[in-house]
């Protein structure tokens, strides 16, 4: 929306309002001003000159040499325009003045882009040096018309030699407001609408009150009946039953001529960004920009039959609009039609066949109110938005159509005194809506705003905005509440028609009206009186914050990745997308569902980073989604999808895995990356949950596969993977990335994913103090030979059978794993240190020996053997 200050000045006195104040008032009290343009047109530079002589250029056909006079001097210019005639007045731009460049060009040393101001220079054209030129409307920035010279028709010659601004007025100020900022205000889509606001804000009267034509009042009804002429109208209007059209009015006007609009109208339309065509079309636009009501002028001679009807289109009905595009209509589209054919896509665009033409001498002016939802659907269906449909979508009042009829006729009859109304206004208005009234209390408005503003002040603001207040009987209130200290006066607020369609309907809406006009800046901050209560803490959030801090401290970087899943890659990585949440309108066809795991995204992220660095330590705390979560809760409380909170960690490096340089026992020849991430995860979990962590390859233990973990997936190295289990609950997975996945990753990349909800469910426990040992621990070591493929876990479980029963057992540690001679092929030797101790005594050597023997007996009785 573009709003012209000079146009607003037709309605409210704004002469003393500076551009800054103007912008500030609109922004802080009405709607945000996106931009303010000072229309610095080159009109002040242009001089009005009279054409004295014309002669063709000697060489160049089409070019004429024009002798002009500025009242004092006479001089010659080159001119190629065809509309130049002897005796006309034109606008002359001398070298040094500026004009609006129509194309991007080099002007002297600067580059000039189209639409910006460029300097006029003396130019040589086929041997003739022209000192400046005669300008078109476009070059003067008045309109976009460049078909010929701008030729103001002056009634006398006294203005010759004067600046063009003498006739087009001083530069205007335009405020630009995003349409979205006006979504809720159907009344603000016009200059008169903004004038109403400014009148209330500045407490200045409206010079012209267009609201008097709204026929929600008796006077408005009478005024509508006064719009009548001789004879009978050739047309009636009607609305088909059940059609989403609240009102349909039309006025027939004869004896009109299609001429150019007067300058002032063309300039104003150009200033607010509307196109300029001819008087009848321009008038329709002008009226809409002036008072907000969309309207359409048909060439009445192109309308067959004797009526227009608002009806649904039939499915597939053909219609060609003013834009020349043929469309097939749907049965939900609304049209205006004669008996034979649709002549307008109602509320959106007029038809080509009945458009105003040069020959038009009789118009039928339509002014109607259409249902916002129906219009919105039609604009979406046909991808066609117009100034009219934008307004209808916002719920125009059905009492507004008369405003357009009055305004159109008023302007037309001034400009074309010979025009005549034919018959009377045709008016179909099946169900005029009742007035909207809101009972409210003055105190409620004060309470919500937190201001001390008297009843009178509130009343004054609301009345300034054209609300009317009907006071309740105050005495009655006093009898009921004679104890109350503050008078809580009740009243009824009647909402003016232009605010009553949806915008203002409850007392809270009145709070806003009073607040914004009173000024939000005037409201003092106020600390609330509230019950002091500590904020509750969310345990999951605490877990997340501790984990991310621990990871950060270890050198990992936190990333946030997208929720959309690369479906092709996720499938390749072995994730089933069967229960994934799918999107109807994904950004990209391959991002058609939400992620079921954070792993695929993180793997791709590692690959991207590998282009720049070969050591990658990343993690993400995020959600994975699946659609199996919708339980049968009530509509209000239904959960749309299952959302799991996950922590996913990636550790990737190019380090040779045998040269670990870490705490890893050098005997372990491989798996450094795996073991080191696992070591970190062990630490993280120890800080969060009680209970022992078991690390089990997925091939050994398949636990609750629906959980997502415990399944051997394609992305995992089949011999370097495990699920993480705490006391029977699988809480995560860790694996090296399989080279079969085909990603460009560092040599060794390990990924771990942990279910944080599971961690939270396991809960944390305060550590319990254990008395410090008073006697030194004792230990012995043993080496056990077991099959290479068998996990150490099996051995640990076997030995635990005995160790668990011993009160003196403290812990065991793996010291080394050894393969090679003299250990037979296919076997490995595992050296374990067993630590024993007591709080009462230092253990005797025979006590140690008996434990050792017990373990030896256990081993000998098993499939393992002792290494001697």
């Amino acid at each position: 929306m573009r709003i012209s200050k000079s146009w607003l000045s037709d309605y409210v006195d704004l002469d003393d309002i500076s551009p800054e104040r103007f912008e500030d008032l609109i922004t802080t009290k009405v709607a945000e001003v996106d931009d303010i343009e000072l229309c610095a047109l080159p009109t002040a530079d242009a001089i009005l000159v009279k054409v004295l002589e014309l002669r063709p250029h000697a060489q160049k056909t089409g070019l004429q040499i024009v002798k002009v006079s500025d009242g004092k001097n006479q001089f010659e210019l080159a001119c190629g325009a065809t509309n130049i005639k002897l005796g006309v007045v034109a606008a002359y731009l001398a070298p040094g003045s500026r004009y609006v460049a129509l194309q991007s060009a080099e002007a002297g040393e600067e580059a000039v882009s189209a639409g910006t101001l460029a300097p006029v220079t003396a130019r040589e054209i086929s041997g003739f040096i022209s000192p400046g030129f005669l300008a078109s409307e476009a070059e003067l920035g008045l309109t976009s018309d460049h078909s010929g010279l701008f030729l103001p028709e002056l009634t006398n010659d006294t203005l010759i030699g004067q600046s063009l601004s003498e006739i087009v007025g001083p530069p205007d100020i335009i405020i630009v407001i995003d349409n979205k900022s006006l979504t809720h205000r159907p009344d603000l889509w016009s200059h008169f609408g903004f004038a109403r606001e400014l009148s209330a804000i500045l407490k200045r009267p409206l010079k012209i009150d267009q609201d008097r034509f709204a026929d929600c009042s008796v006077a408005g009804k009478e005024r509508l009946q006064e719009l009548r002429g001789e004879a009978r109208s050739n047309f009636s209007v009607r609305i088909d039953p059940l059609t989403p059209c609240a009102r349909f009015t039309a006025l027939e006007i004869g004896n009109v001529r299609t001429v150019a609009s007067p300058l002032w109208m063309r300039f104003r339309l150009a200033a607010v960004g509307a196109g300029v065509r001819n008087l009848l079309v321009d008038l329709s636009n002008y009226v809409m920009c002036d008072i907000g009501q969309p309207n359409h002028a048909y060439d009445a001679d192109k309308l067959s039959g004797d009526y227009l009807v608002a009806r649904f289109a039939s499915s597939g009905e053909a219609f060609t609009g003013l834009d020349g595009i043929p469309r097939e209509l749907a049965s939900e589209d609304l049209v205006i039609a004669t008996k034979q054919t649709a002549v307008a896509l109602a509320g959106v665009i007029g038809g080509q066949a009945s458009a105003i033409q040069e020959s038009t001498s009789r118009v039928l002016l339509e002014s109607a109110t259409f249902d916002p939802v129906a219009i919105r659907h039609t604009t979406k269906r046909h991808s066609l938005r117009t100034d009219a449909s934008n307004r209808f979508e916002k719920s125009q009042s059905p009492y507004s159509p008369p405003l357009a009829l009055h305004r159109f006729w008023q302007l037309l009859s001034e400009l074309q005194p010979q025009a005549r109304i034919v018959g009377e206004v045709s008016n179909s208005f099946p169900a005029p809506p009742a007035a909207v009234s809101i009972p409210f209390s003055y105190q409620l408005i004060r309470d919500r705003l937190g201001v001390e503003l008297g009843d009178l002040g509130i009343k004054e603001i609301l009345e300034g905005l054209r609300f009317t207040i009907e006071e309740n009987n105050i005495e009655e209130n006093n009898i009921e509440e004679n104890n109350s200290e503050e008078e809580d006066n009740q009243a009824i607020c009647h909402v003016p028609y232009h605010r009553a369609t949806r915008d203002v309907s409850i007392a809270a809406d009145l709070v806003e009206e009073v607040g914004r006009i009173y000024g939000y800046d005037e409201i003092a901050q106020q600390a609330p009186l509230i019950v002091s209560e500590p904020a509750r803490r969310d345990s999951l959030r605490q877990v997340e914050d501790q984990l991310r801090e621990a990871l950060r401290a270890t050198g990992f970087s936190e990333c946030y990745l997208y929720s959309f899943q690369d479906t092709e890659f996720a499938t390749r990585a072995g994730f089933s997308l069967e229960s994934a949440v799918r999107l109807q309108n994904p950004i990209d066809a391959n991002l058609g569902c939400l992620r079921v795991s954070l792993i695929p995204g993180l793997l791709q992220c590692v690959e991207r980073n590998f282009r720049y660095t070969d050591r990658i330590a990343l993690f993400e705390l995020g959600r994975a989604y699946s659609s199996d979560g919708s339980a049968s809760a009530a509509v209000q409380k239904r959960i749309a999808a299952q959302e799991r909170r996950l922590l996913t960690i990636a550790w990737a490096s190019q380090d040779d895995e045998t040269q670990t340089g870490s705490l890893l026992q050098p005997e372990l020849k491989s798996g450094a990356a795996f073991y080191s991430l696992l070591g970190l995860v062990r630490d993280l979990l120890r800080q969060q949950v009680p209970g022992k962590l078991n690390v089990l390859p997925a091939t050994i233990k398949l636990n609750n596969p629906s959980h997502g973990f415990g399944v051997l997936r394609n992305w995992m190295h089949p011999h370097r993977q495990a699920c993480l289990d705490i006391e029977g609950v699988v809480i995560g997975v860790i694996a090296e990335v399989s080279p079969a996945l085909g990603l460009e990753l560092p040599q060794r990349s390990v990924v771990c994913e942990i279910d944080l909800d599971a961690i939270r469910r396991l809960g944390s426990k305060d550590p319990l103090f254990q008395p410090l040992p008073r006697f030194p621990d004792s230990f012995f070591e043993m080496s056990i030979i077991m099959p290479n493929a068998e996990p150490y876990q099996n051995l640990a479980e076997l030995l635990a059978l005995d160790l668990q029963t011993l009160p003196v057992f403290r812990r065991s540690e793996v010291l080394a794993v050894y393969e090679g001679a003299p250990i037979p092929a296919g076997k490995k030797s595992v050296s374990v240190k067993f630590v024993l101790g007591s709080d009462e005594r230092t253990l005797a050597s025979d006590e140690l020996k008996s434990v050792e023997n017990m373990l030896i007996a256990r081993i000998v009785g098993s499939s393992y053997e002792l290494r001697r």
Binding site: T183, T554, F556, L618, A673
Partner: protein, 334 residues
């Protein structure tokens, strides 16, 4: 022996040899023997010209077919062998994952928290100090919680303001954290004070300043008496805590269907007003949807654009960095 018999034999022996190749090296050797420059199939093709014209066409066709099927056999055998070779390699790489090895990743340099995390944690701390509980809500939301119960019915033009991702099940990705207001009203009893940070989605084309995924923080207070003056108090306090000084702010009308009156809060920054956050008194209908009597309780709500705050805080010029996962970006926040 007829030519046909020759060809059948050649085909059978070739296919048998291919399927018997024990490894990729043997397979490659075989390929040279059969299909190389002097391979037997290549030679057979070369002798075509010596065959009498009347037979040439049919023999030629057969030979070509033979060559194609042998090539196909090579391809499938190669796949099998390379897979098993990979399988063997992976098997050789087997480790005992149950070993209790005590080791840590040798990371280089300091780790980092995401800038969104840093700002979010800071805000959570401020709000917890003011008695606000931090809550969460689902990202895949129902139309009811994202729109309907926030006073945005299906026909409301405000739905156009927030282009939405829809799921195939008819649900949506929340377009704002305001949906958490609805969830909180369902599960908590007034008086209450909450903030709810989270990820939100808009169906938008991406560029340096537009993302389809970004972060907001919703705030809400419900009590017996809540005024616009209270909104101003909390917003001023928040900004003082964030910026460390009294920022110059203004409230101006802003339209959001779930608040009435609704505001935009602007902050004076580098000689101009910057739009910072929308806020307002909770619309009575929203309270009613949440089962709360608007005559007894009132509230205010606000929505902080976390992504935008992060960008201006750290002078990040392209919003796409936030979810790009680029370590060169992330490690700047260590």
């Amino acid at each position: 022996m007829s030519e046909a018999q020759d060809l059948t034999q050649l085909r059978n022996s070739s296919l048998a040899a291919v399927s018997a190749a024990a490894n990729l090296a043997a397979l490659e050797e075989l390929r040279i023997q059969l299909l190389g420059k002097k391979g037997s199939i290549t030679l057979a093709l070369k002798t075509l010209k010596d065959i009498p014209a009347e037979n040439r066409k049919s023999v030629g066709a057969e030979l070509n077919q033979l060559k194609n099927s042998v090539e196909a056999a090579f391809a499938s055998r190669e796949k099998v062998l390379s897979l098993s070779q990979l399988g063997e390699r992976l098997a050789r790489e087997a480790i005992d994952v149950t070993l209790p090895v005590d080791s840590r990743p040798l990371t280089r340099g300091a780790g980092s928290l995401h800038p969104l995390t840093r700002v979010q944690q800071e805000l959570e701390l401020i709000f917890r100090g003011l008695g606000f509980t931090v809550v969460d809500g689902p990202e895949v939301e129902t139309d009811y919680c994202n729109f309907e119960a926030l006073n945005v019915p299906a026909t409301h033009p405000a739905r156009d303001m927030q282009d939405t991702f829809w799921t195939s099940g008819g649900d949506l990705l929340r377009t704002h954290t305001s949906s958490i207001q609805v969830r909180a009203l369902q599960s908590m009893k007034p008086p209450l004070r909450i903030v709810a940070p989270g990820r939100v989605y808009r169906y938008e084309r991406m560029d340096a300043s537009h993302e389809h995924t970004f972060y907001q923080m919703e705030g809400m207070m419900i009590d017996k008496k809540v005024t616009v003056g209270h909104v101003i108090y909390f917003m001023r306090t928040l900004l003082r805590e964030i910026f460390g000084f009294e920022a110059k702010i203004r409230l101006r009308p802003g339209y959001f269907p779930f608040v009435e009156p609704g505001f935009e809060l602007d902050i004076w920054f580098k000689n101009r007003w910057l739009e910072l956050l929308p806020c307002g008194l909770i619309h009575p209908r929203v309270l009613e949807f949440g089962g709360i009597d608007p005559n007894e309780w009132q509230g205010f709500a606000f929505g902080l654009g976390l992504s935008r705050l992060v960008m201006s805080r750290f002078k990040i010029d392209d919003i796409r960095h936030l979810q790009g996962g680029d370590l060169r970006f992330l490690t700047q926040f260590s």
